[in-house]
């Protein structure tokens, strides 16, 4: 085939998601999913909506769901945008808010999608190196830029920036877009949603994949000033009106509304995380302080890559990134107590 593909396509190294091998049943601690099912109300809603109406296209404006989310955060409906996973919202945000030749900032160690999208949409970027404790050096986010994006808590480190620091970043960047990807905010962090009314340049992206146990359905949402939401709508409607399926629309409302279940599940995960972290520290691991549903860990003598392969042999999948600076770390998703017990016993066996 002749080589006529666009330069961009050739340059893109796609994001490689955590592996999903089919050879045997694994304990999956590698993709930051929630080990627990969604609220029974969610399941009920899907069962109800799985009927012949599936023949119909979904509501392209996601009106009902936007209302429910707006109410939950005490915002208005036009401050809410729904995406096919927060990945899709990120994909729309780059062309909507960033411009070629106007470099944006994000951390050197972060969700690798940002680089993928920056390249795809020809957006220049400068990487801000995390400090030696893997914190985002907030002072460096004050240098000249045309936009900022980072997750809070950060991935894959789990490290969290308290709201005062976020405020500092926003104070110093009133003229550019600041996007905060709060995929993991519900596991002990405080959302920057409360800052939206003060900063019309702030966009917050959250997902139902983690704290609300709906990774399989692909649902994320963005919150921000209505003009920002309008920007996202423009991008979306410029080529695809029907991005969200009917079942997702039907059940996501219930996931948001069932706050009792939500709090229950996230507290359970937080407790398990703290217990697991303590155990790992006892085993001699260095554990980065996490406010996410995963831990980022390294051992002084046992190489991460080796431990990764050994765990796989024992039927446990964790995430290993062969990336400079973090190539001796493992990212371990918090599973159920039972899964974490198996993980810990296995690790203990494998350590020298």
């Amino acid at each position: 085939m002749s080589i006529f593909w666009s330069e961009i396509a050739k340059q893109i190294t796609p994001y490689v998601p955590g592996e999903q091998p089919r050879d045997k049943k694994y304990i999956k601690l590698n993709t930051n999913e929630n080990p627990y099912p969604p609220s029974p109300e969610v399941i009920k809603a899907i069962r109800k909506a799985a009927n012949e109406d599936l023949r119909l296209y979904p509501d392209p404006d996601c009106n009902e769901l936007r209302c429910v989310i707006a109410e939950y955060f005490t915002l208005s409906k036009d401050q809410v945008f729904i995406g096919n996973g927060s990945d899709e919202i990120l994909a729309f945000s780059f062309p909507a808010f960033f411009n070629p030749k106007k470099p944006i900032l994000f951390p050197d160690i972060t969700y690798s999608f940002y680089t993928v999208y920056a390249k795809l949409f020809h957006i220049d970027y400068h990487l801000i190196p995390l400090d030696h404790e893997f914190s985002i050096p907030v002072d460096q986010l004050t240098k000249k830029n045309f936009g900022i994006i980072f997750p809070n808590p950060n991935a894959p480190t789990g490290k969290y920036l308290p709201i005062e620091k976020i405020k500092h970043v926003l104070e110093k960047n009133k003229e550019v877009m600041v996007i905060i990807d709060e995929a993991y905010i519900d596991f002990g962090g405080k959302s920057a949603v409360s800052l939206l009314s003060q900063y019309p340049n702030l966009l917050i992206i959250q997902t139902l994949s983690k704290s609300r146990s709906l990774a399989g359905l692909r649902l994320g949402f963005a919150l921000g000033h209505k003009d920002l939401i309008e920007g996202l709508n423009r991008v979306k409607n410029s080529f695809n009106s029907y991005t969200i399926d009917r079942l997702a629309l039907a059940c996501a409302k219930e996931a948001i509304k069932d706050t009792t279940y939500f709090n229950n599940i996230r507290n359970k995960i937080i407790t398990t995380r703290e217990q697991t972290a303590n155990q790992l520290i006892d085993f001699g691991f260095k554990v980065i302080d996490s406010k996410a549903n995963f831990l980022f860990i390294t051992h002084p003598v046992h190489p991460a890559e080796k431990l990764f392969s050994q765990l796989k042999e024992w039927g446990i999948l964790v995430r290993y990134f062969k990336t400079p600076r973090i190539d001796n770390y493992l990212r371990v998703t918090i599973g159920s107590d039972e899964q974490m017990d198996t993980f810990l016993t296995t690790v203990q066996k494998l350590l020298p």
């Binding site: 893109i12 993709t31 023949r55 899709e88 062309p95 909507a96 340049n201 994949s209 309008e230 969200i244």
Partner: protein, 365 residues
């Protein structure tokens, strides 16, 4: 702060999708609304697809299988094609989007029929490309004019076969000649969204052409939204050479298709009986409506799909309002430059009868 939306995005007039039934009902205070506007299958999906959704629910807290292994496996067997020649999308619409993002650089040209599926134009603009519209000839793609429009800047040619909104198709001989002729540095996107309805024996076999001509970049698109009755789940697929598919996979988001859609589509694909039932119902609905249009002396374009383009002899927009008040939603085609045409999806027997009655009433108003 001025939001820095890129200029090409600002220049777009977004696609206006058909209204959801509930919205029409609310606005007009109607008890019952029949939606014949978005080419959805009136039979609904296969009951097996619904069952598959129920079964897949227990894993909903897990990410979907990003490779779509099981669905691709079924598709591969059914179509005798390798898995690395299949890409799955959140609707075929998303695969179109991925194709444009992968292959079109700013300033390059795409060619498409006019009128055809409007998304081709919008996508080209949103990627800073230039769309060259080639007028249809007798409501059918004019392939020789499209071939003549090729320049050194042409990167993609979009063909919907059968075409939306006309319902017409290009036949085997003409299509093969065209595909042979298009230079191998141009991607042909063959959008077969209505493939399952096109039962004419002269309907071209582009899939075999792809298999026999691996050096020709052709992307064949099909969907579960139409004959499979799963528009609400958003899932479609593309077929092409392994090179082409692998490049597009670089641009695709890893979890673009949700897990319930994957499960339902696979089950739907395996229910040949339901598909046959849908086709039969469509056939008889088509014959009934054509008869009625003839009786009413309305010009319509013969269709090999589940919709019919009809000239109602008055402003389509106003005609549409009248039908709406009678509880029927169709698609006025003014936006496509067909000011007196509406596009009508073939419905169930009762729905078609109700439609004919409403048209009779509306025409006299």
């Amino acid at each position: 702060m001025k939001i820095p939306v890129q200029q090409n995005i600002l220049n777009l007039t977004p696609y206006t999708p058909g209204k959801p039934i509930s919205e029409v009902q609310r606005e007009l205070n109607l008890e019952e609304v029949t939606k014949l506007a978005s080419n959805e299958n009136p039979c609904g999906p296969s009951p097996k697809a619904i069952q598959a959704i129920h079964k897949a629910l227990s894993e909903i807290h897990r990410y979907p299988d990003g490779s779509g292994f099981y669905l691709k496996n079924s598709l591969g067997k059914k179509l005798a094609i390798a898995q690395d020649q299949i890409i799955l999308g959140n609707g075929t619409n998303e695969i179109l989007e991925i194709a444009v993002r992968t292959f079109l650089s700013p300033g390059e040209e795409t060619i498409s029929g006019q009128p055809a599926f409007i998304i081709y134009q919008l996508l080209t603009q949103s990627a800073n490309g230039i769309n060259i519209p080639i007028p249809l000839q007798e409501h059918t793609h004019n392939l020789s004019a499209m071939a003549e429009a090729i320049t050194s800047k042409t990167k993609i040619i979009f063909i919907a076969n059968p075409n939306n909104p006309t319902g017409t198709m290009i036949k085997q001989g003409e299509m093969m000649e065209f595909l042979q002729k298009v230079p191998s540095n141009i991607l042909v996107v063959m959008d077969e969204a209505y493939y399952e309805y096109a039962i004419d024996e002269q309907y071209p076999d582009v899939l075999s052409f792809i298999k026999n001509n691996p050096s020709k970049p052709i992307l064949l698109l099909r969907t579960f939204s139409k004959a499979y009755g799963l528009a609400g789940l958003r899932i479609g697929y593309g077929l092409g050479s392994p090179d082409l598919i692998s490049l597009m996979n670089r641009v695709r988001q890893p979890f673009n298709v949700n897990s319930l859609a994957l499960a339902a589509a696979q089950a739907a694909l395996e229910d040949a009986g339901h598909l046959e039932k849908s086709r039969k119902l469509n056939q008889s609905g088509y014959q009934f409506l054509c008869q009625e249009f003839k009786r009413m002396k309305l010009f319509y374009v013969p269709s090999c799909t589940n919709f019919i383009l009809v000239d109602v002899g008055q402003k389509a927009k106003e005609f549409n309002e009248k039908l709406l008040r009678l509880g029927i939603v169709v698609r006025p085609m003014g936006g496509y430059g067909l000011t007196t045409y509406v596009r009508i999806t073939i419905g169930l027997e009762e729905e078609n009868k109700k439609l004919v009655q409403a048209i009779n009433t509306a025409i006299k108003q």
